[in-house]
Amino acid sequence: MAAEAAGPHRDCAVGLFSIAPHLEEMIVIGSVNEQWERLTRTQLWRSLFRQGWPDTPRNRTLAVMGNVFLHLHPVRLPRAALRVTYTFCLGGISFLLFLSLTVTGVLLMFYYIPSVTRAYNDIRDLETVVSFGYFLRNMHRWAAHGMVITVFLHMMRVFYTGAYKPPREFNWVVGVLLLTLTFLLSFTGYLLPWDQLSFWAVTVGTNMAGYAPLIGPEIRFLLLGGFEVGQNALLRFYTLHVIGLPLLVAVFLAVHFWRVRKDGGISISGPL
């Protein structure tokens, strides 16, 4: 039936089908359902999706198990773990902001050179010359402040619900490390616009590090690559900000997520 209706189209497409025979299944005209059925049976489709549309328990299970991103999750979870007033999605939101910062950060890198003679003008250009440059910079800045806040709030949530208790002790420690790394990521990014605000904020911040007992001046020198905030400091902060610290955060995030699963999923209260 479908093949008959598609007669004329078939003739026109014979040449193409002889080159790629499986395309025939995709182009035959029939009802929408038939089309869909045929599409999902093609080699191309089946190479992308290993299971059917996720509208049955079986396919939904396979969809989560067979996807590298979704398989961070278990296939099933306790109903109580869905309660938004328990987690407030704070860990997930922190991760979302980290991803937004990565995307906007990579785009900002196209327009920014970490040189004391160029950096400030590059930021000015973002505001006035680059299409959506101002928007991009704003988004990076507000997401960064947002991440400091949500990571801290996430820590408060975990503390006040007692979710740090065994067997999750070590994941709490990893979380505290991630909070510290978030502060450092934000701080190293703060210098990059090379304006008065950033310059003096980092001068104040690194002076504080210089007060460490015994090795303070050495730590300060190591951070700045000199005795004051200058070209070396800008390059060090930039390198730490765009690659060093993000890599470290990514490693600890992987451990953090993995341990959530290995410690029995997110904590929930008592029997349901």
Binding site: R76, Y134, G162, Q196, L197
Partner: protein
């Protein structure tokens, strides 16, 4: 070859089996739901809302940009990023090593130690542990805020240093011993204060953690909005311009 000659059977481990599995499951799977679509729908909605909020915020409010950095012109006041202003505020009241490194370092270590101090399972997943919990957190937040504001005002208008120097107290006591004594003493006093409620380890930690969060937040707010030229106290609406 040598083994055969001496008649000793060489043994090698075939497999290592843990007494406890790497995966610790606390309860049987009961009353569970599928992640697709139940959890994924919530995550998608949360992600969409946050992304929308971020886009609107970035559309409406611009990131600050001042003049080109100039090492010769020091703005008064020069402030650290807002999340470090709590430490900069501490800097006004104690030895810089304490304020800038030791206090934050000890705070991070104490945070990491939390699950090793309170490791009793049973009340996992319950907000504020018990009926006493919210009350303890409330008392602690008020206690910490009132003491902190009082101490900051005292130091600004009377001056611990001025008072102690005038009676010949040595520097090490003024900038190290007194601040450490105040921090430990007030924490200890808080624990004494809630003792009639017969708190367990978790509830004592709730008191101390809430005190820490309150101090962190109030110091940040004071450092951000109430400190002006010379790092003196001003009302936010009467703040002199930076120069």
């Amino acid at each position: 070859m040598q083994t055969q000659q001496t008649g000793i059977t060489q043994r090698r481990p075939a497999a290592v089996v843990r007494e406890q599995g790497a995966t610790k499951v606390e309860r049987q799977p009961q009353n569970t739901v599928l992640v697709w679509p139940n959890l994924l729908a919530i995550e998608f909605l949360a992600a969409a809302l946050i992304t929308l909020g971020l886009i609107i915020l970035s559309w409406v409010i611009g990131a600050p940009l001042e003049e080109h950095a100039n090492p010769d012109i020091t703005p008064n006041p020069s402030k650290a990023p807002w999340y470090f202003l709590n430490l900069q505020e501490l800097l006004l009241h104690m030895h810089p090593s304490l304020a800038g490194v030791i206090v934050p370092g000890v705070a991070i270590l104490m945070l990491m130690a939390v699950p090793y101090v309170d490791h009793v399972v049973g009340d996992t997943g319950r907000w504020f542990a018990s009926e006493n919990g919210p009350r303890i957190a409330g008392i602690s937040a008020v206690y910490a805020t009132v003491w902190l504001v009082a101490l900051i005002i005292f130091d600004e208008y009377v001056g611990t240093r001025r008072v102690l120097e005038s009676i010949g107290i040595p520097e090490v006591i003024i900038s190290i011993v007194v601040p450490v004594a105040v921090m430990i003493g007030l924490s200890w006093l808080l624990v004494i204060l809630i003792r009639p409620m017969q708190p367990n380890a978790r509830e004592i930690l709730i008191a101390l953690f809430t005190g820490f969060v309150a101090v962190y937040v109030v110091l940040t707010i004071i450092g951000t909005a109430f400190r002006g030229p010379g790092m003196h106290l001003f009302w936010p609406w009467a703040m002199p311009p930076r120069h």
